[in-house]
Symmetry: C2
Subunit: 335 residues, 2 copies
């Protein structure tokens, strides 16, 4: 039971509570299979396509679980968030449904589609320069001035519990089908989803190994797990995975990562683009660069994961500009 979401760690029952709260708002996304992917890996892979989630990413889950718990007295003051894009959609959509004002601080180089979508959902977007301004400082100033509730992207127990419903659903659906996961691969930036999924699996599939997928140059979680403490990415390091560019793992999520995450793998830009092409040609799903990291990691480590099958693969987001997608799908798909 969470009393202070900025200090407490969520438990399995918080995920169950979030799942109830998400009913009728977020989608229960399906578990998919694909014969080309099974053949490529040589083992069964189950796909959890959060690309088909409301707002095009899993971020709707945590945002709704957090925002719908704002006390009535604070609702009129609205919400403020900073986000490279997908958290922005979840916050904007949740606020729109609840009739709350949302202000989102987004980098000026975020994908145009993400900026446009946040505005289309009624949010006010405040652009900032990724290399000169602090998004935290801008958001803090807005919160201070307006009294708006800050909706953190991952360092919040309700956010983690909400994201964990993706693992909860997949775990329950698999159990109903008699499928016993050997491992799960999940993209990680601040690591809120990964922590939530790990927590759900701790209860439902305690013997399944949980793996993180990160972009090369932003493998802060892999290095943090190795170091036993939070370490950051080099400032200014870039990746095409705009969704996975948090500077370091969140303080709260990392406590769960340390307990439950078995390891992690990093994907290069080329591997991310190849994974997007594979998803287009074989899975027939639109996946954004950051959303494809787990697939890239799976395709680059086939024997490793075939030995840990059935694999649950979480595709986290689909909000990509058409130019980047066209570039990716022009690559011949990996066999």
């Amino acid at each position: 039971m969470i009393t202070d979401p900025l200090r407490d760690l969520p438990t399995f029952s918080d995920i169950e509570s979030a799942a109830r709260r998400l009913e009728g708002v977020a989608f229960h996304t399906p578990l998919l299979r694909n014969e080309a992917l099974d053949t490529a890996i040589g083992a069964p892979v189950w796909i959890k396509p959060e690309t088909l989630q409301r707002t095009g990413s899993f971020k709707m889950r945590g945002a709704w679980n957090r925002i719908s718990r704002i006390p009535e007295a604070d609702q009129a003051k609205g919400v403020v968030a900073f986000s490279s894009g997908n958290h922005a959609q979840g916050v904007a959509e949740s606020a729109r449904i609840l009739g709350l004002k949302a202000t989102i601080v987004m980098p000026s180089d975020a994908p145009q589609s993400k900026i446009a979508s946040a505005r289309a959902r009624g949010a006010e977007v405040r652009l900032y320069n990724r290399n000169g301004e602090s998004r935290e400082a801008i958001a803090a100033e807005i919160a201070e001035r307006t009294g708006a509730t800050t909706i953190k992207p991952f360092d919040d127990a309700w956010i983690m519990a909400g994201q964990g419903t993706a693992g909860y659903e997949a775990g329950a659906d698999a159990k109903a089908m008699g499928v016993h996961f050997g491992s799960v691969i999940c993209n990680a930036s601040g690591g809120g989803l990964l922590a939530g999924v790990a927590l759900a699996f701790e209860e439902i599939w305690p013997y399944a190994e949980v793996y993180a997928a990160e972009p090369e140059g932003h493998d802060d979680l892999i290095r943090s797990l190795a170091a036993g403490r939070i370490v950051s990415n080099a400032p200014g390091s870039r990746s095409i995975a705009d969704a996975l560019m948090a500077p370091e793992p969140g303080v709260l999520p990392f406590q769960i990562h340390q307990r439950r995450v078995a390891g992690g793998f990093a994907a290069t830009n080329d591997q991310l683009l190849d994974a997007m092409s594979f998803a287009f040609h074989h899975l027939n799903l639109v996946v954004e660069p950051g959303g494809a990291a787990a697939l890239a990691v799976l395709l680059a480590n086939r024997e490793y994961f075939a030995a840990r099958a059935p694999v649950l693969l979480v595709l986290t987001g689909a909000n990509v500009d058409p130019e980047i997608f066209a570039q990716a799908i022009s690559r011949p798909p990996l066999a």
Copy 2:
């Protein structure tokens, strides 16, 4: 109960039989919702994404239901089929699973991805010139010479019953959720899927109206329904919807269409490309031009279908070359 699939019409129990036969081979595709589509139509739309079916289209359903019923004595002689692409995948994949030799007669201008996929599934592809050669004659010659069983694309009761399982699944899933469809929109070429879905709905949702979606210039079914008899498309008429270019409705499917189809709408090439772009930007699904006809029709007739909601939208296929897809998604999505 079908005794001669080339003469008999299927019944609802043939669809139930097909559904049992498809278990563990074809996927039970989910029912999806999308907030952008609901908003665009102003009414609830449920999406049946056969784009996520094994082989990337619904054609796997009918092909498996037909090919898995070939008597053992005939299996060694293999199968032969003619197809613009998606039926080819279903036939090739079913034959591969069963260890049967498959020969597919495909137009030389079929999408490269479809030709390559049929070959990758182990089929022998015989290309023909769409404007000079008769695919029926070529397939008949092969069947005569080899004794192979001809797998017709739609004029076959087992094929229709197999395709009908898409409607059967969607109908049963909706019933379990308490959803009562007002209408269903389904792409039509020879009309095997449409006939199967209409037959499934006749039993499960008798009051839901069934609509056909066709490409402009290939609206043979719409004109046939109006004329009360089968009429053909003008020879040489083209569309980007390569999957929907049968010259006229099948004789067997049309008997079901006449009984159960309430009407049809045709989509222009521009509308098909816009629908593909909408699917990319909002649904996050890859859809081929022919697979997008029903979505194009829905987006072009919003009030009509809002009055017949909830709408079931069948997305039939995703096998599209990257160049065409890149062209489609460069269009700004319809609001």
